[in-house]
């Protein structure tokens, strides 16, 4: 179905959308804007879906604007002054909105769930409104017009239906559906004015052809979706087996020569560790996407299985188990780089150099979910302290000189954060979560938007374990149903300078303990223990959209603590909370912004 059929609609009654818009008062347009903000985007694995979502959004705006004007008129007891011209076109918009929502569901697009509720709402409302409008001041005029048009267009309609039958018989399903859609839009434009009997006559005329197309069209869309999911799974292949093999090969090469080749580039052990950590992030991101796409394609003819995505080495085909096993493998393998390198570093100068470089890599990798990996790496590095010589002594002394400072800074930061008196995000989310959208969407997002924003009100919250995405934003995962974005620029230069002073770090003196290196480097990349402040806005997102297209920048949560779970309901939601921080807490300092 191409976009033309959505733009070139032939209406019997001329529309002046502006007329309807004139009845829309200020606060209502705000709500319209808000509901647009709350719309679910298309995944667009099948490109047609993107066009359909755009059409749904427009049809919704048209139909809802008219409904809003009807409500206002009724409230003001001025139903007689309502623009009746637009009734037909709004009814046509509502009906097409509903039909397109079903098409989106065929494509397994979560947006279809929302638009179905909205389309249903609009159709029902206008159907009920028709009864009142027929008895309005100029209602009888429009009834007469409609009946007249029904007769005058009968012939044209008959020929159009025959054309559709022929297209279908010739196997041109797409075109048949397009032309059927044009007939339906035309009929919808006047049908509600007709008497029940009169309306039934038209229905009889078109239903036969319509029924002919129904199932084949559905099947066509589902096939297209299955093919698109298959393609998407191939493109998003996590490549776990290949990654694990590369790591094993590199470890051997480091053990032999102290260097290894990755992507045709010769690198050192610390560089290799960092590179594979990054590859792990990408791999895990793809794993999450595959999980989501695969589940969208449940019971469809998708040609790539979970086992194929996960690979052989993890020994599972279960989405929930895969990240756990991947984490375990990585925690087992990655520290071996350190072990291999340290075994080769016999003299003190080399050992110190490689030690400092690995500390830098640890600082790059560290985050709250990586405790086991960090501990395993630190265990390997601790070997240096068992050697005789000045390096062991330097490391021990450095730890003595800095361990207490870090402990007390941690206590100080925690004390200051407690005084900020913010609610944790999980508790806040429980206040916000409503059965009508959590865990699954049960109403149109337009019905939920206003109340949700109201509930947000003055809530002052904090998100834990915040990772920076870029200079202006960070994100934090709360659980699989709630996540937060932390928006705003803030600078930690002074705090980092003070921290470096306390830890005796200068350009000539690098940190000599994992704890110190991790402290400074997490501060530099704004990996925070917590960030708090007022909620600026909330959004309801679709699980199937957020995770099917998870951006790589959100792959920083490695290792993944838990694979997001879904029972496969297309309407499953996530609550996204946007907060503007008024304070941030690093493990070793606190800052009011």
């Amino acid at each position: 179905m191409n976009s033309n059929s959505r733009l070139n609609r032939t209406f019997c009654f001329a529309i002046a959308m502006l007329t309807a818009a004139n009845f829309v008062c200020g606060s209502q347009s705000q709500l319209l804007a808000q509901s647009k903000m709350m719309s679910i985007p298309a995944n667009g694995f099948v490109p047609e879906a993107t066009t359909l979502v755009a059409a749904c959004e427009k049809n919704w705006e048209d139909a809802n604007a008219y409904i809003v004007s009807l409500k206002a008129a009724e409230k003001a007891n001025q139903l007689d002054k309502v623009n009746l011209k637009s009734f037909g076109t709004s009814a046509a918009s509502a009906a097409q909105l509903y039909r397109d929502s079903q098409r989106l569901r065929n494509f397994r697009e979560p947006a279809g769930v929302d638009y179905e509720y909205r389309g249903d709402y609009c159709r029902n409302f206008l159907r009920d409104a028709a009864i009142k409008l027929k008895t309005a001041k100029r209602g009888s005029e429009y009834i007469a017009k409609a009946e007249k048009y029904k007769l005058s267009s009968a012939d044209r309609r008959k020929k159009a239906l025959q054309r559709v039958r022929k297209l279908f018989a010739d196997g041109k399903l797409d075109q048949a559906e397009e032309e059927m859609e044009e007939i339906l839009v035309d009929v919808d434009g006047f049908q509600l004015w007709l008497s029940p009997n009169s309306s039934m006559q038209i229905q009889k005329q078109i239903n036969g052809v319509r029924a002919l197309l129904m199932e084949p069209s559905e099947k066509r869309r589902e096939s297209a979706a299955a093919a698109a999911f298959t393609e998407a799974l191939k493109i998003n292949d996590p490549g776990i087996d290949a990654l694990l093999s590369s790591i094993n090969t590199s470890i051997s090469e480091i053990a032999t020569s102290g260097n290894t080749t990755i992507d045709r580039k010769l690198v050192t052990g610390p560089q290799a560790l960092k590179e594979f950590f990054l590859q792990w992030q990408v791999c895990q991101n793809k794993l999450i996407r595959c999980m989501s796409i695969s589940i969208l394609g449940n019971r469809m003819d998708v040609q790539v299985t979970p086992a194929q995505c996960i690979g052989a080495q993890l020994g599972t085909d279960d989405w929930a188990a895969a990240p756990f096993r991947l984490n375990a493998k990585m925690t087992e393998l990655l520290p071996k780089f350190i072990a291999a390198d340290l075994r080769r570093a016999k003299d003190e100068a080399t050992a110190k150099d490689i030690y400092v470089r690995y500390l830098s890599t640890l600082g790059f990798m560290a985050n709250k979910s990586a405790n086991e990996l960090m501990a395993a790496c630190e265990k390997e590095l601790a070997v240096l302290e068992t050697r005789s010589g000045s390096l062991a002594k330097s490391i021990k002394n450095y730890k003595k000189a800095t361990a207490d400072m870090l402990l007390w800074r941690k206590r100080a930061a925690a004390s200051a954060a407690r005084s900020a008196n913010s609610t944790d995000l999980n508790s806040a989310a429980n206040i916000l979560k409503d059965k009508s959208f959590s865990p699954n969407l049960l109403k149109g997002l337009d019905q939920i938007a206003a109340d949700l924003q109201k509930t947000v009100g003055e809530l002052n919250v904090y998100a834990s374990n915040v990772q920076a995405i870029n200079d202006n934003a960070g994100f934090a995962s709360v659980d699989e149903q709630v996540w937060a974005t932390v928006i705003g620029q803030f600078d930690l230069e002074n705090e980092i300078l003070e921290l470096r002073n306390d830890l005796f770090i200068s350009p000539d003196s690098p940190p000599l303990s994992p704890a110190a290196a991790i402290s400074v480097l997490t501060a530099k990349r704004k990996s925070l223990t917590a960030a708090g402040g007022p909620i600026s806005s909330v959004q309801i997102e679709a699980f199937g959209t957020r995770y099917s297209k998870l951006p790589t920048s959100m792959g920083s949560f490695v290792p993944l603590e838990k694979m997001p779970q879904t029972d496969g309901n297309l309407g499953k939601t996530l609550l996204r909370i946007n907060l503007n921080p008024s304070w941030v807490q690093h493990e070793h300092f606190f800052k009011k912004l």
């Binding site: 002394n397 361990a403 402990l407």
Partner: protein, 202 residues
Amino acid sequence: MDDLVSKAKDSATEFKEKSGDAFGKAKAGASDALDKAKAGASDAATKLKETTGQLRDQASKMSKIAGNRMSINGTAEITLDAPTTFPASYIRIVPLPEGQSVVQLKSYSGDGESTTYPAYFLQGVVDLESGSLDGQSVPCRFFAQKTADGDVWENVPGQLVVVQFKKNADKIAASFSGAALINLANNSQTNSTGWFECVDLK
């Protein structure tokens, strides 16, 4: 309880004064030994021994009077929201690569993770190559906490706590006054005084 505390305080002052005297005596004794190297050496040594023995007796007496407050693990008192006595007081010197040293004062001997409360920690950088800690004033970072997960006091940012050290027989005495501290839980500032009788932490 207050009685014991004030008694302990008095004893401490008395002890300080007596120690000072004993130290002076020991010094004099040492000089004598140098001057009369051959004859007076053993005499002076015996005197020194006696004085040290007196000090130890006094220490254990004080310890019993104060109910272990003036224990062999040292003691300290710092004014936070109120004068707070700490269960122990240790001092540790850690060498830094460039020749300077870190001096640490703390109320615990382990890694501090499972410390007893109230607890404190001070740390400053000092040059010990030109002489000992005795008589030096060292600007220090300061932290203290009365209970686990309770309010934390820290030196006001940019204002280090200047601690004066004085050797005191087998202990190090340290003190500070007029130090600006901030309670991080409620942002209130306070002017603080503190004194320490520290034992060496190896």
